[in-house]
């Protein structure tokens, strides 16, 4: 849950199946923090699609499951 380390608030969320701690409170900030600020990705939060246009208004909660997907080979 929300915890303080060296005076900074971190929130634990699950990103692509792995635990991550982020300071961001909204999805678009979290993506930047995780290194995907400029990347072409598609996002889903807790199993529901989040369009790129609504990432800025999408608030994160502790324990959220975030999927960050990209193009891959497929048949």
């Amino acid at each position: 849950m929300q915890q303080v380390t060296w005076g900074i608030w971190f929130m634990k969320i699950e990103v692509n199946g792995e635990q991550q701690a982020v300071t961001a409170t909204h999805l678009h900030e979290a993506l930047a923090e995780l290194g995907w600020g400029e990347a072409r990705v598609a996002t889903a939060l807790n199993g529901s699609f989040v369009p790129a246009a609504t990432r800025g208004a999408t608030q994160l909660s502790p324990g959220d499951r975030l999927e960050v997907l990209t193009a891959m080979q497929g048949g």
């Binding site: 692509n16 199946g17 995907w36 990347a39 072409r40 990705v41 598609a42 996002t43 889903a44 199993g47 529901s48 699609f49 369009p51 790129a52 999927e67 960050v68 997907l69 990209t70 193009a71 891959m72 080979q73 497929g74 048949g75």
Partner: protein, 253 residues
Amino acid sequence: MRDFYGETLQTPMMLGTARFPSPTMMEAAFRSSGASVATVSLRRERGAGQAFWEMVRGLGVHLLPNTAGCHSAREAITTAQMAREYFGTDWIKLEVIGHADTLQPDPFGLLEAAEALCADGFKVFPYTTEDQVLAARLIDAGCRVLMPWGAPIGSGMGLNNIHGLRTLRAAFPDVAMVVDAGLGLPSHAAQAMELGFDAILLNTAVAEAEDPPTMARAFALAAEAGALARTSGPMIARDMAVPSTPVIGKAWL
């Protein structure tokens, strides 16, 4: 000529992008075959996605994202929504897998997802079986293309149920149909096109060949041959021999 949601394809060949020994081989297979559609997927970002996106965009073909690996309608619907945004197309190859060993579609999940996606404006290409009742339901849901399997995905067995495929083709003469999955040899592709299918979709048979670009070309030629045969009125097969050389005028020796 049946179209694919208003699009006419340059060639009746759709090619997957997976399992190739290298990206260069994949590009060469697209060039040598003239495949007009590339299937792609969405997976967790681990660093290689951006380069792959640039590469498939550079192929200059229609992109058909899939929902491969989805086992429920809900998963498939979310994946389709993500794919529409990422790839900038409302085409979706809808896969809802019902069994892990056969990769057989789950007809109930497939129909549920197809109904939701068609209502949401997607142009759905459902990966289905040759089941005619399911096909009718998918068409009722709004699907204008069907993709019946030839055989289980990656098996290379060819057309397992010719009778079922022929019946399906005849039952819905206005619906574009693609034989998807299970093709192993170019002769399977020719056979599918001779049966009146509008295109073939394959991946493993090309990607796992020793020489993928040449095998891709072989499939493209076979598909074209089958399509030409279909439109040129094949003879009816007979049980007994009929001499092709005239009997009249033969010498009395």
